[in-house]
Symmetry: C2
Subunit: 392 residues, 2 copies
């Protein structure tokens, strides 16, 4: 792996997309697909480079068709055409949207009908960890317009494509992880006892932006005496108090790529019990990082971390897994859990996320991000200190 310590710019050269598409076409053939149709922001951007915040508006569907040969084809609302034309996508069909009676469906059906048929199957985002970004009734209408074509579950194929990252993708994840690492290190200067969770989050959010992140879509800040009951909601108006553990997690982005890792802070004096639990989870993280090697499995990642947590007396945790894939989304396949069965490959970016409830309602969760290389795991985050940073 080259050294990515310099800051990557925004956007990728066309050969990055050409590589992604040609690799995808091989995988699509293995899945017996003549084409895949992408409707969701990350998948659309992955193959096109199209960057927009306009996905916030749920009104208009957008389609990108990756077929067995050549560059992808865009089927998009007129409002998006000028900017899509600035990417490497040159074959663009548009319709005047919104058009409730036919919002792109007939146009998409025409494009799909014109493709060579080898398998008679088109993959769409119908499966796990995908929410198709078009009305289901319009999916039904599309299926009706394509007799003889099977609209099948393309999700396993799409995730197989995206699960292994290119070096340019890894460079962006590393960059955002470094930004957030530096911000986490500054938290003891930013946050004080007596701040509300909401105020604390606002400070950290602004700090992450000032350090160069593009956006901070995910920043729960959660506090509780000696630990926290959950890790997904917050901030609230709760005031941070002596004896608390303050938890920040952050999915921040740079050029479309996410960080996803957390940190715990000791607010004033905390109990020895909390310190011991923190240390156990820190050690479980060490073991998880070491096990993220080519040829290992996500089941084994879970097993080795669980062993450490169980030896430390965990009561369990409600997260349901001990880490996952990371890239253009906050969480992506695979899942570090029993039965996931993913064999780890070079280029996978994973979160290592052990957590334990050491007393009822008192949970401590750690998380680091890494890329798997042929030479072993390479940390993308700046490793959490073994002893929690203190807030006063």
């Amino acid at each position: 792996m080259p050294n990515f310590s310099s800051i990557p710019g925004h956007g990728f050269p066309a050969d990055e997309f050409e590589y992604r598409v040609s690799r995808a076409q091989k995988i699509m053939a293995e899945h017996n697909f003549d084409a895949i149709v992408l409707t969701t922001p990350a998948n659309f951007r992955y193959f096109s480079g199209f960057d927009s915040q306009f996905w916030e508006s749920p009104t208009r569907p957008w389609f990108l068709v990756v077929s067995a040969e050549g560059a992808p084809v865009g089927v998009v609302p007129e409002i998006g055409a000028p900017e899509l034309a600035r990417t490497w996508i040159k074959n663009i069909h548009t319709w005047p949207a919104p058009r409730p009676e036919d919002d792109g469906v007939s146009l998409l059906a025409d494009v799909l009908s014109g493709l060579p048929r080898r398998f008679g199957r088109v993959g769409m985002e119908l499966g796990r960890e995908h929410s198709l970004r078009m009305p289901v009734i319009e999916l039904y209408a599309l299926i009706d317009r394509l007799p003889g074509v099977e609209i099948a579950n393309g999700s396993p194929c799409i995730w197989e494509i995206r699960m292994v990252k290119t070096q340019a993708e890894v460079a962006r994840i590393r960059h955002i992880c470094e930004i957030v690492s530096d911000s986490y290190a500054a938290v003891p200067e930013l946050v004080k006892i007596g701040d509300s969770e909401r105020e604390a989050c606002r400070k950290v959010r602004i700090d992450i932006l000032q350090r160069g992140a593009d956006s901070v879509p995910f920043l729960p800040g959660i506090s509780g005496p000696g630990g926290i009951p959950q890790i997904v909601c917050g901030p609230r108006d709760r005031v941070i108090e002596e004896g608390d553990i303050l938890f920040f997690d952050s999915g921040s982005t740079y050029d479309g790529y996410f960080s996803d890792f957390d940190r715990n802070y000791a607010v004033g004096e905390i109990t020895d019990e909390a310190k011991r639990a923190h240390d156990a989870v820190w050690l479980a993280t060490e073991v998880g990082i070491e096990a993220a090697v080519v040829g290992g499995t996500t089941d084994n990642l879970h097993a080795v971390m669980s062993k450490v947590l169980e030896d430390a007396g965990t009561l369990g945790n409600n997260v349901g897994r001990l880490g996952h894939g990371l890239g253009m989304q906050l969480t992506e396949p695979p899942s570090n859990m029993p039965g996931d069965g993913t064999v780890i490959k070079a280029g996978m970016v994973l979160t290592i996320e052990p957590g334990m409830e050491y007393a009822p309602g008192k949970m401590i969760v750690h998380e680091e991000n890494l890329v798997v290389t042929p030479d072993g795991p390479q940390l993308l985050t700046k490793r959490a200190p073994r002893e929690m940073l203190a807030i006063s």
Copy 2:
């Protein structure tokens, strides 16, 4: 309408949700639904008050069931149960997620099977301006598990419910509109000729947060000589130059409610042609605001604004409509466009968004947000000055 000039807090009292649900139950009966099932963040939050940034993770589906009587029922991953239990939702079913072989589907089917059947129909988010937030293959599995129950398109029913806002909702939209209005007024102090669009956006994003917004999911900053070719993508690395028009749009949020309005800035000296176009669009906005009255229609809003733009020599625009609904999402039904046919009611919050291309690739778009009251339209934004603010 009461005066909402004081800052609303975060969260709503239970009686707000009781009111929403009882009104929804009446509308559901008119649509012949025994229940509606909500999977998307805004709909889930609308009925439960559940606030989380964890929706960023696409891994686990969440379900909220609103039936003909009583409070909604949650069917959620274990990871979300502690926080959902802190809302007014007390009937909560959980499963250990992720569980790929059955991620909540059998549990949801059990809950739906246990409901009284009057119509034999359950509405889900299958229609326009909705993307069901669960895998389509799991929707198919749910349908298979519910013989005798029709899973129908609940979107028209759900949008009818959400389209009319309560006073507490309007207070939040007003608050975020005021924050963003103040930030827009400060842009001439924040942004300078020679800044890149990206730098300009970062400054404005941080300013909006410092003024009290919870998040800024949508902030395109776009510049171009005398106007811009599109309004949905950006910022880029382009440097802002003398003669440009700089355009900011923002969907910022407070307590789950969005602003959605834009502003144009003259960078140094701009042409008289651009000034004239700006004035025409400003006047079209005036006319649009005046027409947003109880009993009016969204078709008429489009007609009266179009007349002004056509008289001013518009070449058209690629947005496809001249404004829309606004609330928990950046854009919501209705659409101000021919054929939309929505009759305007008190409590609707609308954007008035005329735009015109006055020369090829040079578009000027204005936008304001208002609430319709029995006494006429009430602006939620601080009206854009008739003459563009200048950046030097």
